[in-house]
């Protein structure tokens, strides 16, 4: 489909010719996000530089009934920024200024294209930082973090994006600018701030964000505990939480992940361990000392075969180096991998990991596990070879099974990456028809013509009814005990 010439010209008038991309080669850059298995060439990419331009563009799209996909840095892992057929991409990468740091009120006001890590860099001079730290924080934009309600290692103690944002300026599909939230800690009426965060670009386009900043902690300690079995590591996680400790980070790596990362960054990990836990504690020195002693004792009584305590800052960084490089490390041992993102109640950790291993064997694919154990957010990495026929499809089917397993034990199909196009099928497993219809009615309240990121995040009932992505094998539904429609 080719867009009407007058529409393209109108876009050029609104944002300038240089900010409109229409040639095939340049459009290629925008054909996918970090879920690169799905690609679609957009018809047009528009790169506004001001709020007024975003407002005008949305109004134009509304008048032309033109679908659009807002895009930040494109680091999303669920295809949320995948261009839609016959639609345009609204790239927000040129809106990347830190508008203000307010040390007295401990806030930063940002344009959506500001990188996550750049916020803490800008706040550092005031002894402050922005807590949510997705693994892609060096590249991902705060606008994208808002769209996905991104998390990271420190979520267990400091919360997700939704817990750390005070105000959003949102442009509606009609081009109206709304202020959600406030300069204080709440706003009157419905909590639209909470609703907008994690809405995957379906309700409006965020053009300005005010986040909460926290004081930098004076001391941080990391413990590395090795276990002879994943079950013991899982039990240790539950014991730490039940004992009243709230670590800043509690991360688990299985043996495959330990070996892959050790070969890559040489962090000194015990490569024979079945699993390692990294437990980070922060606060005043007295708090860290007390918490470390407690954590050490709990780890010991829960079967840790070895516990190392970072003796200085460089050792602490080395402990983390492996965890932080886990994804590229796995990239070295497999030509392709598919990163999943389910959350489960922590008590099921060991059982779910065991079932993932069984599923992996069944599909004859390897799975590497490295994840946020403290909040039950799993990230199984399914290794496959994209050059082999059917390998991706097999990986995708296995991924779907893993997410359905998460739902079956009382968890969810996505903890921090979002649904995008990737998990639409599993949305039909997690939610009933009436709930999905309620989501659609809510979407309609913001966007009656369904122009904002259509086809993402919330599946149509038609799609669910077709069971198209439910991986039905020989007519047998997965988890038949779950009610469906």
């Amino acid at each position: 489909m080719t867009l009407p010439l007058d529409f393209i010209q109108h876009c050029q008038t609104l944002v300038g010719v240089d900010n409109v991309i229409a040639d095939q080669a340049s459009l290629r850059v925008y054909e996918c996000d970090a879920l690169s298995a799905y690609r679609h060439l957009p018809e047009l990419v528009v790169l506004p530089e001001t709020v007024a331009q975003v407002q005008a563009l949305l109004k134009l799209c509304s008048e032309h009934r033109m679908p659009l996909v807002a895009r930040g840095a494109g680091t999303g892992l669920a295809g949320g920024a995948l261009p839609v057929e016959g639609g345009i991409v609204l790239g927000l990468s040129k809106m990347k200024r830190v508008l203000a740091i307010d040390p007295l009120n401990r806030t930063a006001t940002l344009q959506p294209g500001v990188r996550n890590l750049a916020i803490s860099e800008a706040a550092k001079a005031h002894g402050l930082y922005y807590a949510p730290d997705p693994s892609s924080q060096i590249a991902c934009s705060i606008g994208g973090n808002i769209a996905e309600n991104a998390g990271g290692v420190h979520c267990l103690k400091y919360g997700l994006t939704v817990h750390n944002v005070l105000q959003l300026k949102l442009v509606t599909i009609d081009g109206e600018l709304l202020v959600l939230g406030g300069s204080g800690l709440d706003a009157p009426g419905y909590d639209l701030l909470a609703l907008a965060i994690g809405s995957e670009g379906l309700l409006g386009v965020v053009v300005e964000i005010t986040v909460r900043l926290l004081p930098l902690q004076p001391q941080t300690q990391v413990l590395l505990a090795a276990f002879a079995s994943v079950e013991h590591a899982g039990a240790a996680v539950a014991a730490i939480i039940a004992d009243g400790l709230l670590p800043a980070g509690l991360e688990l790596m299985d043996n495959a992940a330990i070996r892959a990362t050790e070969a890559f960054v040489h962090a000194g990990y015990p490569v024979d361990a079945a699993a390692i836990l990294l437990c980070e504690l922060d606060g005043l020195p007295e708090q860290v000392e007390a918490d470390s002693a407690r954590a050490e004792s709990i780890l010991q009584s829960n079967g840790a075969v070895e516990i190392r305590k970072a003796s200085d800052d460089s050792e602490r960084k080395r402990f983390w180096a492996g965890r932080k490089a886990a994804f590229p490390a796995v990239g070295r041992i497999a030509s392709d991998y598919y990163c999943m993102d389910g959350t489960i109640p922590r008590k099921h950790l060991a059982a779910v990991l065991k079932q993932i291993a069984e599923l992996a064997e069944q599909y004859q694919l390897s799975v590497v596990n490295v994840f946020h154990a403290g909040d039950g957010n799993l990230h199984p990495l399914i290794l496959y070879d994209g050059s082999r026929a059917d390998d991706f499809q097999k990986a995708e089917t296995l991924g779907g099974k893993i997410l359905e397993l998460c739902v079956a034990v009382g968890g969810t199909i996505t903890g921090e990456h979002g649904v995008g196009i990737e998990k639409l099928g599993q949305m039909c497993v997690q939610f009933q028809a009436a709930e999905l219809q309620q989501f659609h009615r809510l979407k309609h309240a913001f966007d009656p013509h369904g122009l904002l990121n259509p086809g993402k995040a919330i599946p149509t009932l038609h799609r669910c009814a077709e069971l198209g992505r439910m991986h039905v094998h020989h007519g047998q539904l997965p988890h038949p005990e779950l009610e469906r429609f």
């Binding site: 401990r106 997700l160 939704v162 706003a187 639209l192 922590r346 009382g410 968890g411 939610f431 709930e435």
Partner: protein, 351 residues
């Protein structure tokens, strides 16, 4: 009262109300009837009987309970496992129910440091205005599947649906707590609160009652003691009572005559030029004001300072809250998406 699941009877009542086009006033223990606009419905939908703790696992930091369960009962169970509702909701004489507290979205003194009611909301079961039983969110901390309808329910005053079951994140109780007090004038108290909150002290509350600034420290005993030594304040032996009375609105300040306003501002905002007595909570981000000034003046002063005002307890409910017209229109669309016949609590938050 014995535990019982009244989900289906409550849904039936909603279906009958739909058939009769009869608006409903949702009532738990009615401990917060003073709050919000005047409800125009006369027919009552009772939820207090829908009570009981459905699931609680200390190692998961998650509790699920029916809406009619009292906060007092929940707090007592959590305390047995040294855990708590960290947003410190007021229990209004032990009457407040979980459903009402979430519907009102109230949070106490710990809010700036631990989070608000909505921050701890994980999932809920509701009946919408079509009489459908719906589940949103879940029982895990990280969950970004679908729109975050659970958090949207917090503070919606029941206008989007009848809350039935609610899952909340809970937190460990701190090992130790200590309150320091400083006698200061208002502007100096505000400056000190701002300075304290910018440093990594183990804070869990900061409030100023017009005479004394109180600073609550929470954490490991050694850390609390170390912070107290460095902060060099006078230890308030009745600190726990103060925070309880502040949370429950039992301090003498709350008993004075006049409308009680709740003003939300950026914490470092200088004192507003409004006549009346003011109490500062949330490190300055929440200002309680007792005044006889007209609603118009209070709303205008709060808006001019970049915040907003809500008449929390007042004789005249007509102007208790103000919304930007564009936001109001959107909120009406959202209400219609959940409750097209406007059956639930009409007038309480909006018609």
């Amino acid at each position: 009262m014995r535990d019982q699941d009244l989900s289906e009877p409550i849904r039936q009542q909603v279906l009958e109300a739909i058939a009769a086009r009869r608006p409903l006033r949702i009532v738990g223990n009615d401990s917060k009837a003073f709050y919000g606009g005047d409800c125009e419905a006369t027919a009552r939908l009772e939820t207090a009987g829908h009570s009981g703790i459905i699931d609680y696992e200390p190692s998961e930091l998650v509790l699920t309970a029916r809406a009619g369960t009292t906060l007092a009962r929940i707090a007592s169970l959590l305390a047995q496992h040294k855990q708590m509702l960290a947003f410190e909701p007021p229990s209004f004489g032990g009457q407040a129910t979980l459903g009402g507290s979430i519907a009102c979205g109230f949070s106490g003194p710990r809010r700036p440091f631990a989070g608000s009611a909505r921050d701890f909301m994980l999932g809920c079961k509701v009946v919408n205005g079509n009489g459908e039983l719906l589940n949103f969110g879940g029982r895990v901390m990280k969950n970004v599947a679908g729109f975050d309808v659970s958090r949207l329910m917090v503070g919606a005053l029941g206008s989007l649906g009848v809350l039935l079951d609610i899952s909340l994140r809970v937190l460990p109780m701190p090992e130790a707590e200590l309150t320091l007090a400083y006698s200061l004038p208002a502007d100096a108290a505000l400056t000190m609160m701002t300075a304290l909150a910018a440093r990594p002290w183990p804070l869990s509350a900061l409030a100023y009652d017009g005479q004394q600034l109180r600073v609550r420290l929470s954490g490991a005993a050694a850390a609390v003691q170390a912070a107290a030594r460095q902060l060099d304040g006078e230890v308030d032996l009745y600190g726990d009572t103060f925070w309880l009375e502040l949370r429950e609105q039992q301090l003498a300040f709350f008993q004075q005559p006049g409308d009680l306003w709740r003003i939300s501002l950026a914490p470092a905002t200088p004192p507003l030029a409004l006549i009346g007595d003011c109490l500062l909570d949330w490190g300055g981000a929440l200002r309680w004001l007792k005044t006889a000034q007209p609603a118009d003046s209070v709303h205008a002063a709060a808006a001019q300072a970049g915040g907003h005002a809500i008449c929390f307890r007042g004789a005249d409910k007509t102007d208790w809250i103000r919304l930007d017209p564009a936001l109001l229109a959107l909120q009406q669309n959202i209400r219609s998406a959940f409750d097209p016949l406007k059956l639930f609590n009409p007038g309480r938050l909006q018609r």
